[in-house]
Amino acid sequence: MRSSPGNMERIAICLMVIFLGTMAHKSSSQRQDRFMIRMSQLIDIVDRLKNYVNDLDPAILPAPEDVKEHCEHSAFACFQEAKLKSANTGGNEKIISILIKQLKRKLPPSNTDKRKKHRQTCHSCDSYEKKPPREFLERMKSLLQKMIHQHLS
């Protein structure tokens, strides 16, 4: 049997081109705000984790606060490296582990990364005050808000 005329193929190709064109336009406009989008997502994740704070391991963790100028990314790395984990009680282990995993994703580049030379004078993670999970998450959120403000300024 021979195939039918290629009208269907032409229609499908046109729809695909329109769809790809829409996606390309959307992705190019979002590329500039990838950092902002990620920061907003991280704040949302921290807020969601705060709902499960009673199901987190109560061990104290390094929680930077009032960090020196230009040390925000270094301090945020300390938050990401902290051993925040579920207490394996309450039945929320899966969602907690997913949220914690999302917190540890690498940040997109920011316009404030140009000041990398100052990172050598930043404190090490162990030097920061250690706090239980509730305070840890509060301080993480504060740092995220500060980084967003710096990015927009």
């Binding site: 021979r2 039918s4 005329p5 606060e65 509060e138 504060s142 500060k146 403000h149 927009l152």
Partner: protein
């Protein structure tokens, strides 16, 4: 700007509450956990006795108005005796901070009831330490730590403009006075004369997303159903058989509804490729094949051709 589809005849009462922030002070009352922590310092010479030095000091509430100035106030009437309490403040940075006294007190009934700080004294993302003290009893003091970034009250949006785009579309636009416009989120609600309450924002968002997505899904589904039906011609009923002769004059394609192209594509193709195969001559025998080919060739490729049957 925001484009909405709204009935024209309704009178729209638009409300623009800022997401999470409002002018209602009860919304922004600092909680003990998130925005402020308070520590009281007071001592008493005789344990258990009622001494003025043991009386707690009122809590200080601070709000940053649009990032332009900050007011830190306390309830001065809560004191048993009229007292001009003093306020000192500072910013915690790297484990140390310097406190300085308020340079612009606010008064209520000739008593200090607050402190006004100007824009260059406000640092939103550093821990703000405020210390309230009774000057007559230096041991009676209270220290609070505040997160100013959570205590900002932007001014309300201005110049709300409605533009009639079409019979069923309105465009809303407004201006913000906050320095960092991108830091603000807005929630738009509307209602008509017939609605008893403001629109549910989540319902509005759901409609704004689900309806276009659902419509696209329906269109795509209909497209695939059309494609499928196009390849499945309808079976003509026998009672219309006489129409084949009277109305369509024997034109089967038009009577059945099957397009000519589809009818041709359903015709069987009996064409077949035929290839001649010649036997490899035995070794040593010199024979010339048709066309004068060389004796040294062990195999002669013959052209293939297509035999097409006439239908």
């Amino acid at each position: 700007m925001l484009k909405l589809s709204l009935p024209l005849r309704s009178f729209f009462l638009l409300q623009l509450p800022l997401l999470g922030v409002g002018l209602n002070s009860t919304v922004l009352k600092p909680s003990g956990n998130e925005d402020s922590t308070a520590v009281s310092f007071s001592t008493s010479e005789t344990p258990g006795s009622l001494n003025i030095s043991t009386l707690p000091l009122p809590e200080v509430q601070c709000f940053v108005f649009n990032g332009e100035y900050m007011n830190c106030t306390w309830n001065s009437s809560s004191e048993p005796q009229p007292t001009n309490l003093t306020l000192r403040y500072g910013y915690k940075n790297s484990d140390n901070y310097k406190v300085q006294e308020c340079g612009h007190y606010l008064f209520s009934k000739e008593l200090t009831s607050g402190c006004w700080l100007q824009e260059n004294e406000i640092r939103l993302y550093e821990t703000f330490v405020v210390r309230l003290q009774d000057p007559r009893e230096p041991r009676r003091q209270m220290e609070q730590k505040l997160k100013l970034q959570n205590l900002v009250i932007p001014w309300a949006p201005e110049n709300l403009t409605l533009r009639n785009l079409s019979e069923s579309q309105l465009e809303l636009s407004w201006k913000n006075r906050y320095a960092l416009d991108r830091c603000l989120q807005h929630l738009v609600q509307y209602r008509s004369d017939w609605d008893s309450s403001w629109t549910n924002p989540w319902l509005f968002i759901t409609k704004a997303v689900l309806i276009p997505v659902g419509s696209m899904g329906l269109i795509i589904s209909l497209f695939f159903v059309y494609c499928w039906l196009e390849r499945m011609p309808r079976i003509p009923t026998l009672k219309n058989l006489e129409d084949l002769v009277t109305e369509y004059h024997g034109n089967f394609s038009a009577w059945s509804g099957v397009s000519k192209g589809l009818a041709e594509s359903l015709q069987p193709d009996y064409s077949e490729r035929l290839c001649h195969v010649s036997e490899i001559p035995p070794k040593g025998e010199a024979q010339e094949g048709p066309g004068g080919s060389s004796c040294n060739q062990p195999y002669r490729a013959s052209p293939c051709y297509t035999l097409k049957s006439k239908t």
